[in-house]
């Protein structure tokens, strides 16, 4: 678990299985590399982006786990999705106008992700696979929408403060 208490960060603190702030001289894992936290001060949108990336990675790992994901794995994923959705929702009011629509879309996908993961807990066989795949698709869509919100914010800031 990595805890980051930066100003503007709305409370999503559990990062879980993906190493954030990785230094490239660390041991290779063949895993997600998101060493973006050390060099810049990040705002809440960046943290939400990291959370959705982490969520996608975790669901992807659960989907590929030999022997299948455990109940505990899925419960943790549902919690991650819920926490990410709540952080994104809480952050909406503070975001640049250009980013709000994308972030609102991301919230919708995060809530859908949580719903599908919860469904997977109650199902088995093909229904389970379908629920996990839907969760993965919605997690990917949420990461895309948050990323587009980041792009919109950066573009707006760039126009306001040309380099």
């Amino acid at each position: 678990m990595i805890r980051r208490d930066l100003e503007g960060f709305t409370g999503l603190v559990e990062i879980g299985g993906i190493t954030m702030g990785r230094v490239y001289t660390s041991s290779p894992t063949g895993d997600h590399v998101m060493g973006k936290m050390d060099t810049n001060i990040k705002d809440s949108l960046d943290h939400i982006r990291a959370a959705t990336q982490e969520l996608h990675g975790a669901i992807s790992d659960a989907a590929t786990k030999r022997g299948g994901a455990t109940k505990a794995d899925l419960e943790a994923l549902a919690q991650k999705a819920k926490a990410a959705a709540e952080s994104a929702k809480a952050s909406l009011g503070t975001q640049h106008d250009a980013a709000k629509k994308h972030l609102a879309d991301a919230v919708t996908h995060l809530e859908a992700t949580q719903k599908h993961v919860t469904e997977s807990l109650k199902s088995s066989g093909q229904a389970f696979q379908t629920a996990v795949q839907k969760a993965l698709a919605d997690a990917r869509a949420s990461a895309q929408k948050v990323s587009e919100a980041v792009a919109a914010k950066r573009s707006a800031m760039s126009t306001k403060n040309p380099k």
């Binding site: 990917r140 792009a151 950066r154």
Partner: protein, 188 residues
């Protein structure tokens, strides 16, 4: 501007160097990267996309999705063949993408509008990415310094391709973070 890019390198190590550089540009807020994947073409001409070990259904979907994306990068006519080829090969072998964008292009030279001249030759690797960029120079300059050749199509142009519809999201099968398989981690 929202673009899809393919950066072609002469070998896999350079491709991963390019992938890392792309995410570094994102970290520096020079561009925003929405998703990436690394694709190889072997000496036999077969395409392979680097993915995590995955469920066969997901591998097939990735084959279809990335195959279609490569076709889209090749141009309007390449899009349809890319989707079909990706589906056929993706269904047969997880994660493999079977399109021949260069052969597709050979038949479509009269339809140059929208073409990128994207060709992935035998033995080459490419970084495929979905990016937002206000200027093309950060990516072009950085990739050129690594020996990469950048091909670019605007998302809006790709949406104009005949078969493209709201149900297909080209970036769905790209990783929304920097993913480097362990076998390549220390190769550069």
């Amino acid at each position: 501007m929202h673009n899809y890019i393919a950066v072609v390198f002469d070998n896999t190590s350079k491709a991963y160097e390019g992938l890392h550089a792309l995410w570094q540009l994102d970290d520096a807020a020079e561009v925003t990267v929405h998703g990436t994947a690394v694709v190889h073409r072997d000496a036999m001409g077969n395409f392979q996309v680097d993915t995590k070990e995955t469920h066969p259904a997901l591998a097939t979907a990735a084959g279809v999705g990335v195959g279609a994306l490569l076709g889209l990068l090749a141009g309007p006519a390449g899009a349809a063949v890319g989707a079909a080829g990706g589906a056929a090969i993706g269904a047969a072998a997880g994660g493999a993408v079977g399109i021949t964008a260069d052969l597709v292009r050979a038949d479509t030279r009269d339809q140059a509008a929208g073409e990128t001249r994207f060709v992935l030759g035998a033995g080459q690797s490419a970084v495929i990415a979905d990016v937002s960029e206000d200027w093309t120079s950060p990516i072009d300059t950085r990739m050129r310094s690594l020996g990469g050749i950048v091909y670019r199509r605007a998302k809006s142009d790709m949406e104009d391709d005949v078969w493209f519809d709201d149900y297909y999201i080209p970036s769905s099968y790209l990783y929304p973070y920097e993913y480097i398989p362990s076998s390549y981690y220390y190769s550069w």
